[in-house]
């Protein structure tokens, strides 16, 4: 009995502090009414924030000559879909909708190819898919669309992506042109080849050939450095495919995991040798324009509540999206109008943005947009852009998002907001703001060398 009394004593001790009342309280953190530009970090996270938990892409390969010249477009889509499921561990049947941006492919056939790719990637028949086309911003439009649908409550988990095989679907106009285009200057300008719009931007806003070549060389230099440093490794999905030898017709199995458009040795001087292709005496050359490319990318979006429920790491938060119209004859100025619109919508100023991914359709329009907005060049396309990597039209927006989010992850707390933007053929621009605040997950600890103690947890050691 003595023993029982002792046991009772010990167990009663466990309830001792119950008499204390409330445990020592910490200061309650109330949401701040200050805007996002406040110097301190916002800490009020909303469960209905739309967050990105996975972003990946295939390598970008030169059309007709690159690694994907013999790869069917559905295989590219299936590769990124499969990887998205693998990375996140989300069961495919939980995905509410899939949306792919695609530009050149025949519309109905491409939608069908996306459906085929879903089955090849192991999705059940219950998961729907559709395609969107806002020209060069289709990949970003898909992300905005899925984010909006999640916000609207149509579903909680969605996949957005983009795809383009410019090998299979080169740029072409089918059928006759409406003779009434002559009635409107803008309607007529919609028919201008993109290269001519670039010449227009260069002429109208005085962007010299030297400036364009310097910008193009920078793109190659940064992309080559990023590739050499393995910075694209996280975002690229290796694709096992076949390559046919163009002479012998012999088929070879290969794994494509490297962008093949980057030319490391490119200098402004070497680009200066090239002849203008669109206009006699012009300044737009093959070297300072984006490359014609094949590729696909996909992003997995869900509500923050869902990501927390699943314990998934959050790469970034989708904050805002804006698409705007500009004169078709100078369609390249799109980002200069779209970026301020999206940034303002997010309640931010341009100074708040730490990294910009601005599509380099042409060096002329990219340089103009950066100069017009007065952006710090160090924050723009830190890993190169479409001039070096290529511009698979429908894929680009999703590709830029993957590149942006991983760059922001590498920068840790040094990068809180990022912007993806591009110009759009026929005269538009689009931009989206992503946040990587204090509420997103730290990069995996494996990235930091464990011998270096004393580093902050978001430090990146390369």
């Amino acid at each position: 009995m003595h023993r029982a009394a002792q046991r009772q004593q010990v167990l009663l001790g466990h309830l001792a502090a119950a008499a204390l009342g409330a445990p020592e309280q910490q200061l309650g953190a109330h949401p701040t009414s200050a805007g996002d530009s406040a110097a301190y970090e916002r800490r009020a996270l909303s469960c209905d924030d739309v967050v990105i938990v996975s972003a990946c892409r295939t390598a970008l390969c030169k059309a007709k000559r690159g690694g994907f010249k013999d790869t069917p477009v559905d295989d590219l889509i299936a590769a990124v879909l499969k990887e998205t499921i693998r990375r996140s561990g989300v069961e495919p049947e939980a995905v509410g909708d899939v949306c792919f941006g695609s530009v050149m492919g025949p519309s109905s056939q491409r939608a069908n190819e996306c459906r085929i790719a879903m089955f090849l990637a192991g999705f059940p028949e219950s998961v729907p898919v559709h395609t969107v086309n806002r020209q060069c911003s289709s990949g970003l439009q898909a992300i905005a669309q899925v984010a909006a649908s999640i916000k609207a409550g149509y579903y909680t988990i969605g996949i957005a992506g983009g795809v383009e095989s410019m090998t299979t679907n080169p740029m072409a106009w089918e059928g006759a042109i409406n003779p009434r285009v002559a009635e409107s200057q803008c309607a007529q300008d919609c028919l201008l080849p993109m290269g001519i719009t670039s010449e227009n931007v260069a002429a109208q806003y005085g962007v010299s050939r030297e400036t364009q070549d310097a910008f193009a060389a920078r793109s190659h230099r940064l992309a080559a450095a990023a590739q050499a440093a393995g910075k694209f490794r996280d975002e690229i999905v290796p694709v096992a495919t076949a390559l046919k030898d163009p002479k012998t017709g012999e088929e070879k199995r290969v794994v494509i995991d490297q962008d093949d458009g980057i030319r490391p040795g490119t200098t402004p001087a070497s680009l200066g040798q090239l002849k203008p292709v669109f206009k006699k005496g012009g300044s737009t050359t093959a070297g300072n324009s984006s490359q014609v490319t094949d590729g696909a990318a996909a992003v997995l979006l869900m509500t923050r509540a869902e990501a927390a429920r699943r314990g998934l790491p959050i790469l970034g938060i989708f904050r805002s999206f804006a698409a705007v119209g500009v004169p078709p004859a100078v369609m390249g100025i799109g980002p200069a109008v779209a970026i301020p619109a999206a940034v303002e919508m997010a309640g931010l100023g341009l100074d708040d943005i730490d990294v910009f991914e601005i599509n380099e359709a042409f060096a002329s329009q990219a340089t103009y947009s950066v100069d017009k907005l007065g952006l710090d060049m160090d924050r723009v396309n830190p890993n190169g852009g479409a001039i070096a990597l290529g511009h698979p039209l429908g894929c680009t927006g999703a590709r830029q998002t993957a590149t942006l989010l991983y760059e922001m992850q590498r920068r840790g707390k040094a990068a809180r907001f990022g912007v993806v933007s591009m110009c759009i053929g026929s005269g538009m621009g689009a931009a989206a703001v992503f946040e990587r605040g204090g509420e997103v997950d730290a990069p995996p600890r494996g990235a930091v060398n464990s011998q270096l103690v004393g580093l902050s947890r978001d430090a990146v050691v390369s």
Binding site: M1, R3, A4, R7, Q8, V10, L11, G13, H14, L15, A16, A17, A18, L20, P23, E24, Q25, Q26, A29, R43, L45, A308, R309, R310, G311, E439, D441, A442, R445, V453
Partner: protein
């Protein structure tokens, strides 16, 4: 199928590290104050949780642990100071295989070494921790530095020689078998520390749970100040366990009858879930290492539950 009803009050539940459907539950009669004990081995199936084996003991059982080396070996901690070793494949009359009788008071915790797999620790109300191997007739070492009951002793998941102990003397000590004394003595709480565990992905991070109702997260390299304090339990925290599958997820159970899930990465918003399926003290808790997100709990309401962290224990 709402859980499994044990005849006595539950004190500890453990998933088998070998078979994803097996659960061991240690129970005691009369809330462990006086009376017998029973070690259950339960089987989770599509029809619910069913009894597969049970072994009776003369005194109450406070903890149990599966061997990491042999799927049939189960060890129980008894109120009479003995440690019982069971061969669950053998019938009750062939058991226990061994009874280690060295502790002079109640044995309250057991933990098997997950790196070397050949030894285990026991923590007792005689203020000591003992190191055991099934191959040796008696304890290999005794660690006597605490000044009050030892409530938990947990091996480090990465270093085979390192373990921690949590005690009613309000300290948590970190030990290295190669050292004679503790390598760290952490004054973790102002009240008794009932529970502690190592993070499975960062071998320097520990969590402690106390009578002061709080859970604290520490980096043992920086013992001056905790990394985070998780407040919410309204009575003493009885067990705290890091998830084997996510670095910052922590589960806890408490005398306030709740089981809670925390993510200490966002300390001011750390509480992820609360389950109130127990109607008495929630005392036993475990994560499955084989099925991600699977939890089990038992309590003084004589109920044992197993459920997925995204679900409801009463529904699964």
């Amino acid at each position: 199928m709402p859980g499994f009803h044990t005849q006595f009050q539950g004190y500890a539940v453990r998933f088998s590290p070998f078979e994803d459907g097996k659960l061991a539950v240690a129970t005691s009669q009369n809330y462990g104050i006086i009376g017998n004990g029973r070690q259950y081995v339960l089987q989770m199936g599509p029809g619910g949780i069913t009894e597969w084996r049970s072994f009776d003991t003369a005194d109450g059982l406070y903890d149990c642990v599966w061997s990491e080396a042999n799927e049939n070996i189960l060890v129980s901690a008894s109120g009479d100071g003995s440690i019982k070793v069971w061969d669950v494949a053998a019938p009750p009359q062939a058991n226990p295989l061994r009874s280690f009788e060295e502790h002079t008071h109640e044995v309250y915790s057991l933990h098997w070494n997950q790196v070397r797999r050949d030894c285990f620790l026991s923590g007792s109300w005689d203020d000591t921790i003992k190191l055991w191997s099934l191959d040796a007739p008696g304890s290999l070492r005794t660690f006597a530095e605490h000044t009050y009951c030892v409530y938990a002793a947990q091996w480090n998941p990465a270093a085979a020689d390192v373990f921690l102990s949590a005690s009613g003397d309000c300290t948590v000590k970190v030990w290295d078998l190669r050292q004679p004394r503790p390598t760290l003595s952490l004054a973790a709480h102002r009240y008794e520390v009932l529970a502690a565990d190592w993070c499975k992905y960062n071998d320097c991070v520990i969590a402690t749970g106390s009578v002061d109702k709080s859970i604290k997260i520490w980096d043992v390299r920086m013992p001056k100040r905790e990394l985070a304090t998780l407040l919410g339990h309204t009575y003493a925290v009885r067990r705290v366990l890091f998830s084997p599958h996510a670095e910052t997820l922590v589960a806890s159970c408490s005398y306030d009858m709740t089981v809670r899930l925390w993510d200490y990465a966002a300390p001011e918003d750390a509480l992820v879930r609360i389950w109130d399926h127990h109607s008495e003290f929630a005392v036993g808790l475990d994560w499955s290492t084989l099925v991600e997100g699977l939890l089990a709990s038992c309590g003084w309401d004589e109920m044992t539950f197993a459920w997925h962290m995204n679900g409801d224990p009463r529904a699964s």
